[in-house]
């Protein structure tokens, strides 16, 4: 298990590099759109941008992990059980690091928006769990039924385009503090449906993954 943890920890860091890179682009767009730079405004919005980047990253990376890294590790003598555990360790780690970074930024710049931001962490956690599970379910579909996985990936790419486009348009317009507080206020209320959706998506993902993994054939 030590080897497994070493591999997935490194993989998490590589995933975080992608997420941080994407966040940097979003932040730059925000700066271009802002008429004057306000640290508090940036602090209020940057964690949300990091979350958007993490959602996109996990949807992409989790899909790729299922199709490439899971069979690769099996081919290098890892057990199916350990591959499953390692994959979930990686997901937990990437979500934890994302949330920790968000919390650190909000704590570093106190204010109304940051306070609401901190209280929205449980909601963000649920959203990240759903995104991570969706990414790996798509990867599982792709491994098992290539055509279905391809269709879902095409739809997802359309969704990504929209998501990145919308985020870019909104931030280049210059998001004001009031809007950030309003968004944080919406996120701070955690509906039970979201908790249920996160739990169901996680359960579905683990079930899908194990059903496939326990008899999966290595094809590289």
């Amino acid at each position: 298990m030590k080897r497994n943890i070493r591999f997935w920890t490194r993989y998490t860091w590589e995933g975080m590099e992608v997420n941080l890179g994407m966040t940097a682009v979003f932040v730059l767009l925000t700066l271009f759109g802002a008429s004057h730079l306000q640290l508090q405004q940036l602090a209020a919005t940057a964690p949300y941008l990091l979350c958007v980047a993490a959602i996109i990253g996990m949807l992409m990376i989790n899909t790729g992990s299922q199709t490439l890294y899971v069979p690769l590790l099996l081919s290098m003598g890892e057990t199916r059980r350990n591959v499953l555990l390692g994959f979930h360790y990686y997901r937990t780690l990437i979500i934890s690091v994302t949330l920790a970074l968000c919390a650190l930024i909000w704590l570093a710049v106190p204010g109304e928006a940051s306070a609401i931001g901190l209280s929205s962490i449980p909601t963000i956690l649920c959203v990240l769990i759903i995104a991570a599970s969706l990414g790996s379910i798509i990867g599982t579909l792709f491994v098992k039924w290539k055509w279905l996985g391809t269709v879902v990936i095409i739809l997802l790419c359309g969704g990504f385009g929209g998501m990145v486009g919308m985020t870019s348009v909104n931030i280049t317009k210059g998001m004001d503090l009031a809007a950030a507080v309003e968004l944080a206020g919406v996120l701070a209320a955690l509906p039970w449906q979201l908790i249920a959706a996160a739990a169901v998506s996680l359960a579905l993902d683990v079930a899908f993954q194990w059903l496939l993994l326990r008899r999966q054939e290595v094809k590289l």
Binding site: R3, F7, T67, L68, L73, G77, E78, L220
Partner: protein, 293 residues
């Protein structure tokens, strides 16, 4: 103390790719796994290393099951043939990353040997697999196999795409590693003639069944090519196991496999010649097509 598989069956879409294969791989030997395309070689190696599940049968290492057993799996390395056009995304991976993952997962990874082999093969590990040629990909699989230090190491077509110099280097390295470590190697190959001198034991897999599992030299020594006038040849090989008859006009040539105590009747007007491993393999596995033709 061996890697043993018992009555392994593998079925794909109703077709039996492996049919009740029983095999015992002893420690400290170099085995050659030979067979035609589609004979089931890669499938068999995948099942022996628990990379693919069997439809039936069991694989054990020193009496312990291999499936989902980390202790057994840590003693086996199946260095797969790499495909630069793989849909899995492997083509985007760099050689460096692949070796880094292998070094993480194989307990006994020999970093010094890795560096030596990368230098010897003059490999650029910064290249992605998609940009590597077949020979380079083979070199990567050879590096993984040798550096893993796994007591049971399988190589699937390790010399595919390698030029003759690199192939010589590989056989030399294999023997060097074998002499130093006493590991067991199973080498699946189509380039039989070159490998014949290296392989201690030969396993011939044909249409999902093991036709031959024998000492290479003993197997080659048991085979003879008998040629001459058809009637003379028929008389000379009467009662023997005859394969691959070739008739040209009134002349005939056959390959016979002699059991202990058997011999070709050389009092007949025939020519009796020893055969190579490749020739013996063709005689055993090339017959159906000739009959169909």
């Amino acid at each position: 103390m061996s890697l043993h598989c018992e009555k392994i069956v593998k079925t794909y879409g109703g077709k039996d790719v492996l049919q009740s294969v029983t095999l015992d791989l002893q420690p400290g030997k170099i085995y050659g796994l030979i067979g035609r395309n589609g004979a089931g070689k890669t499938t068999l190696l995948s099942i022996l290393s628990a990379q693919n599940p069997a439809s039936g049968g069991a694989v054990t290492l020193d009496g312990e099951p291999v499936w989902e057993n980390r202790r057994s799996l840590s003693r086996i390395c199946f260095s797969r043939e790499l495909n630069a056009n793989a849909e899995s995304g492997l083509s985007a991976m760099k050689g460096k990353e692949y070796l880094r993952i292998a070094s993480t997962y194989y307990e006994g990874w020999d970093k010094a040997l890795e560096e030596r082999l990368v230098k010897l093969f003059n490999l650029n590990l910064k290249k992605r697999f998609a940009k590597m040629n077949k020979g380079m990909l083979s070199m990567i699989t050879i590096i993984v196999a040798l550096c893993s230090k796994a007591p049971y190491t399988f190589l699937d077509e390790p010399v595919a795409g390698l030029d003759v110099v690199a192939r010589e280097q590989f056989y030399k390295l294999l023997l060097e590693e074998y002499a130093a470590s006493g590991r067991t190697f199973v080498v699946s190959t189509h380039i039989i003639e070159e490998a014949a001198d290296v392989l201690e034991e030969v396993i011939i897999l044909h249409e999902g069944k093991i036709l031959i599992e024998a000492d290479t030299q003993a197997f080659v020594d048991s085979a003879r090519h008998v040629s001459g006038k058809a009637e003379e040849v028929d008389e000379a090989v009467r009662g023997l196991e005859v394969h691959y008859p070739e008739v040209v006009g009134r002349s005939k040539g056959v390959t016979v496999f002699l059991k202990p105590g058997e011999r070709v009747d050389e009092s007949r007007d025939v020519s009796v010649q020893p055969v190579s491993l490749q020739r013996a393999f063709v005689a055993l596995c090339g017959e159906e097509e000739r009959h169909e033709a």
